[in-house]
């Protein structure tokens, strides 16, 4: 943003007038294309995005292409790479593992979406409010955050899951990340603590701009890349915890899920029968690859946030954040 120098900032009118289309184009450029360019300028960004894209494809288009898992569509406990029809083998009921995996993908994706949205929205709201407001609000919110941080997540989720027995996919996604937001909120709070002292925030405050607007326009843009990174990482958390809970057989089953495949493989002795090991390795590989994709994507996104790393990408960096250049 350029401001003409010299005269009083209150009397100066911006020398460039924007119409709506230009404004949208600029917004797209600033918050979509420029970050995407930084993301994809790195091999990790490309690979990560490709992996995530492939899973989304499997969960949307793949469900149409690959037949649903039904009993005896393949020989029982067929080993992998024996036939093109059930290339990854089949389980004890003769259901093809490819079908099970692909048809389990939408469930996982929905859970990831719900959990990650819940975590980031919750954390950003609480963290920004607590960090910006300070005083009593901060004391109360900080205590709430600290309580949630210290309560170990998995046992809490297990207890809640056994008692509530949630049946809704999105609800399960939120449930398994029930206290993940607190840790993120804490770190957002400490970032906001440094941002709130910036002169442009002070200017907005003196001008009497409402808190909502200050948070939205002055503070949020600074932490947005960081929030994005943690959106991706929260998605990973959802995968880890939901698979663990389905593996243990604690969550009620809603459709197919990769954790359920692991669970059936485990209870059918795939662990100690070497001929059945494909049955464990297939869901494991599915989980690890997606999780790896999300992880390197978050690492690539780190450049959007980490100023020291971003310095190497001068060309796009000036547009990506609202940080005033000296």
């Amino acid at each position: 943003m350029s401001r003409s120098e010299g005269s009083s900032p209150f009397t100066t009118v911006s020398d460039v007038e924007l119409n709506d289309r230009e404004r949208i184009a600029r917004w797209l450029e600033q918050s979509v294309f420029a970050p995407a360019r930084v993301l994809l300028s790195d091999w990790r960004g490309i690979v990560g995005a490709l992996i995530v894209f492939a899973y989304i494809l499997a969960g949307t288009v793949g469900v149409w292409l690959i037949p649903e898992p039904v009993q005896n569509q393949a020989p029982r406990e067929a080993v992998w790479f024996q036939s093109m029809e059930y290339i990854l083998g089949a389980d004890h009921m003769g259901r093809s593992l490819v079908s099970l995996i692909v048809h389990g993908t939408p469930t996982i994706l929905k859970m990831i979406l719900a959990g990650a949205v819940f975590t980031t929205v919750m954390a950003t709201t609480v963290g920004m409010l607590s960090g910006y407001k300070g005083g009593r609000v901060d004391t109360i919110l900080s205590t709430v955050m600290d309580v949630f941080i210290t309560i170990p997540g998995l046992p809490l989720v297990i207890v809640l899951a056994t008692m509530f027995e949630p049946k809704n996919v999105y609800l399960i996604g939120i449930l398994v990340t029930i206290n993940t937001w607190a840790g993120l909120a804490r770190s957002i709070r400490s970032q906001v603590l440094t941002i709130r002292g910036e002169y442009y925030v002070e200017v907005s405050r003196t001008m009497g701009v409402p808190i909502r607007t200050i948070l939205k326009d002055d503070i949020l843009p600074n932490i947005l890349p960081y929030v994005f990174i943690n959106f991706v990482l929260a998605g990973r958390r959802v995968i880890f915890s939901s698979v663990a809970l389905y593996f243990l057989g604690i969550l009620p089953r809603v459709g197919s899920h990769w954790g359920v495949i692991l669970n059936t493989a485990y209870s059918n002795g795939a662990l100690y029968t070497s001929s059945l090991r494909y049955w464990i390795i297939v869901p494991v590989a599915t989980i690890v690859v997606l999780s790896y994709g999300l992880f390197i994507l978050s690492q690539a996104a780190d450049r959007l946030f980490n100023v020291r790393l971003r310095a190497k990408h001068e060309s796009t960096s000036e547009e990506t954040t609202g940080m005033p250049a000296d």
């Binding site: 910006y132 407001k133 300070g134 005083g135 009593r136 609000v137 901060d138 004391t139 205590t143 600290d146 309580v147 941080i149 210290t150 309560i151 170990p152 997540g153 998995l154 046992p155 809490l156 297990i158 207890v159 809640l160 056994t162 008692m163 509530f164 027995e165 840790g183 603590l193 709130r196 002292g197 405050r205 808190i211 990973r236 995968i239 880890f240 698979v243 663990a244 593996f247 243990l248 057989g249 604690i250 692991l262 485990y266 662990l271 100690y272 070497s274 090991r277 464990i280 494991v284 989980i287 690890v288 999780s291 790896y292 999300l294 992880f295 390197i296 690492q299 020291r308």
Partner: protein, 337 residues
């Protein structure tokens, strides 16, 4: 002093929130413990005495009688817990506190061992990577860590158990120690315990070490670029002293938060891990309690796991204040807007 008071208050608040949560779940969940106990008592009793039986069973198992006023129930529940009475396990017909007292040391043993190896290892490796930034070792380890970090610990546990224990027979397949070994401070016992703990510890360490090492690396790289380090060098402070007193100390300090968060994740993970290795610790008991709908034991395990973590975090917090005086003097401005 104010800081100490604040921490202490927070500890107490957390403990109370957890106990209240637990009470609320036990008391109000439809289809939860109360209904279960009622059904049990009905099954055990003939006719007529059901009501007294229900009251007795729930007083014994859960720590409160459902016909008392709510605040009395709550008060009874809390005081029972504070006095170490966690009720009677339905499935084992034993006091929950006795079961937990026997199991908890084993879980603590696993966790302390894993945490120590993980953090010491991560700090050393991370520091090495920072000093050789962008070298072959650094890039190699970074990519290995990215993969390991993407693998949940329980999956590594499954694979290790499958290959190292069942296929190759190198490690025990289940249990905490070999059978028929007298517990005590004998070489045999300690060796057997360590031998049984190897695979669980490895699965925690190799999946967790990467993230921490990368954080240590990042911290160290940042500090290596600080001005005070250049000044120190110009003043002729020996490189050794710079490494240990300036770089290492400042890079390790922020890891404390990581440590506290990890504490919770790992203790929570015990439920999955101990189930896989059939390791009779508190996590395994919690899982068994869930599958048998043994609510007193389940809530007891939940409470104790949580309290262990809260206490661990509290201790870490206190020592953090000792190491880093900035924390206890409260440097950040808290002006209200």
């Amino acid at each position: 002093m104010k800081w100490l008071y604040k921490r202490l208050m927070q500890f107490v608040i957390t403990v109370f929130v957890v106990m209240t949560l637990s009470f609320g779940l036990v008391r109000f969940m439809p289809g939860g413990p109360m209904d279960y106990i009622r059904a049990q008592a009905l099954a055990n009793a003939g006719t007529g005495t059901t009501r007294t039986l229900v009251l007795e069973t729930s007083r014994e198992a859960l720590g409160f009688t459902p016909d008392a006023p709510l605040h009395v129930q709550y008060f009874n529940y809390i005081t029972d817990i504070l006095m170490g009475d966690l009720g009677i396990s339905i499935a084992n017909d034993e006091p929950v506190s006795a079961i937990i007292a026997e199991a908890l040391p084993w879980t603590l043993f696993l966790m302390v061992l894993s945490m120590t190896i993980m953090f010491v290892g991560a700090i050393v490796i991370g520091a090495f990577m920072a000093y050789r930034e962008s070298g072959r070792l650094d890039t190699g380890l970074t990519s290995i860590f990215a993969v390991l970090n993407s693998t949940p610990y329980y999956i590594v546990a499954l694979l290790l158990l499958s290959y190292m224990a069942f296929e190759l027979n190198w490690f025990p397949k289940r249990g905490r120690v070999a059978p028929f070994i007298e517990p005590g401070f004998t070489v045999e016992f300690i060796y057997s315990a360590l031998y049984h703990a190897t695979l669980p510890v490895i699965s925690i360490v190799i999946t967790g070490i990467g993230g921490i090492a990368l954080q240590m690396r990042g911290n160290a790289i940042q500090i290596l670029g600080e001005d005070y380090l250049h000044v120190g060098r110009l003043r002729g402070i020996p490189e050794r002293r710079l490494t240990y007193r300036y770089v290492a100390r400042n890079a390790i300090l922020p890891m404390y938060t990581q440590f506290m968060i990890k504490l919770g994740t790992m203790f929570g993970g015990a439920v999955v891990l101990e189930q896989i290795f059939t390791y009779q610790g508190i996590g395994k008991y919690m899982f068994e309690a869930i599958s048998m709908r043994d609510y007193p034991l389940m809530m007891g395990c939940f409470l104790v796991i949580t309290l262990a973590v809260v206490t661990g975090v509290f201790i870490a917090d206190m020592t953090y204040g000792l190491i880093d005086p900035r924390i206890s003097t409260g440097g950040e401005s808290n002006e209200s807007f």
